[in-house]
């Protein structure tokens, strides 16, 4: 029952906000995945989407504007037992925090980044976000947008993400399925969620979504080999070039090692005892380290 996942804090989003859909689907996904509550961490940026950890009854870290990914990465590398999900807005993850989004793709940690994409900066009165299309004028803009939109899926491919999906905030079943796959994926994932902002974005309405999206059919997102990877990338560029936004799992690439495995290849103890599992003292005394052996090269012999 997804209501078990309510923290009891009042969700203060506007009525009709797409965040309610994401909130519902997320609780459903957590419930169906059967992960123990304490082993989850929701890490978020700021703004309306950034509040989501407070409403879900799992540990939550509501961070700084654009910085959810570094916080999440620090958590995940220190304690790989934790399931870490990042929630952020399009302004957060694709604007101020874009550099971190790219760096995460390069590392491929087992973290799913959920981009709440509503095209605007809601909590600061609806300024254009990096996903608002060129020439569009939402309610609060004085002039039509003079910047082009960035495409998070294509950015994800360029950065090395191994899971890419797009869903819609008010298709709960579809979104839940995408979340479940993304959370279970062993690598870095981006799930872009198209989300109406009823207060500010008078363009991306439920009606608009109906007319301007379609569900992917006959598209196999799973990368089989290097050759297939090139084909998939070309295919995705084609999909993304279309006038309508494709919804569904767009890419799953299980061939690349996740960051934990890469760390374990360098730090021999990492796989069995990551930092959070290691002792640092023995009842208040430091571990008995053989100084002369460990710091051999500094000794004057």
């Amino acid at each position: 029952m997804s209501s078990d996942w309510n923290s009891g804090v009042w969700p203060d989003w506007c009525p009709g906000c797409g965040n309610f859909g994401i909130f519902t689907a997320l609780k459903g996904a957590l419930s169906e995945l059967g992960i123990s509550r304490e082993k989850m961490v929701l890490v978020s940026g700021i703004g309306c989407s950034g509040k989501i950890p407070h409403f879900v009854k799992v540990p939550g870290v509501h961070t700084l504007h654009g910085r959810a990914i570094p916080f999440a990465t620090g958590i995940k590398v220190s304690n790989p037992d934790l399931k870490v999900i990042v929630h952020g807005g399009d302004g957060d993850l694709l604007g101020i925090g874009m550099g971190h989004l790219i760096a995460m793709g390069r590392r491929n940690p087992e973290i799913l980044v959920v981009i709440h994409n509503n095209g605007v900066y809601g909590l600061t009165k609806g300024q254009a976000s990096p996903t608002l299309q060129l020439g569009k004028k939402t309610k609060s803009l004085a002039f039509p947008n003079i910047n082009s939109a960035v495409n998070p899926i294509l950015l994800g491919i360029a950065s090395g993400y191994t899971f890419l999906a797009r869903s819609y905030a008010y298709n709960i079943e579809h979104l839940k399925a995408c979340l479940k796959q993304g959370i279970s994926h062993s690598g870095a994932g981006i799930l872009e969620v198209i989300q109406p902002c009823p207060t500010w974005n008078n363009i991306v309405t439920m009606d608009w979504v109906e007319k301007n999206t379609y569900y992917l059919k006959d598209w196999d997102p799973v990368v089989k080999d290097d050759e297939d990877a090139v084909k998939k990338a070309q295919g995705i560029i084609g999909i993304e070039a279309g006038e309508k936004k494709a919804l569904g799992i767009i890419l799953t690439d299980r061939r690349k090692d996740p960051f934990g495995k890469r760390l374990a290849s360098v730090y021999k103890r990492y796989a069995t005892e990551p930092p959070a599992a290691q002792q640092v003292d023995k009842g208040g005394a430091p571990l008995s380290i053989d100084l002369e052996k460990t710091f051999h090269k500094f000794y004057i012999h």
Binding site: M1, S2, S3, N6, W10, P11, W13, C14, P15, G16, C17, F20, G21, T24, G28, I46, G47, G50, L123, T124, K125, G126, K139, S140, Y170, I172, P198, T199, W200
Partner: protein, 88 residues
């Protein structure tokens, strides 16, 4: 015949929920607590707005809102953004 509360045409205002819009009438209406000739029973919708909890909730959580007043939709003033201040 039922009252506005259970009617599919009724959209209470988000802030002043004793007032609202009826899709069968024009202008602002007070909520009719008695019976109404336009009444049509609201059907199950995926998302509802609960007046007691003041949140949008999903059908799967209906049990949590037993005995509460909830509506298929709410009415949001189209100019609501004009009254908003920056918040983050």
């Amino acid at each position: 015949m039922g009252s506005c509360k259970g009617c599919k045409w009724w959209r209470p205002d988000y802030f002043f929920d004793n007032l609202g819009e009826c899709e069968k009438k024009s202008g602002i209406c007070p909520e009719n607590k008695d019976s109404c000739e336009m009444y049509e029973e609201k059907s199950e919708t995926e998302f509802c707005w609960c007046r007691d909890c003041r949140i949008t909730f999903h059908a799967s959580e209906r049990d949590l809102h037993r005995g509460h007043d909830f509506f298929c939709r709410t009415r949001v003033d189209q100019d609501a953004h004009e009254y908003t201040s920056t918040g983050d």
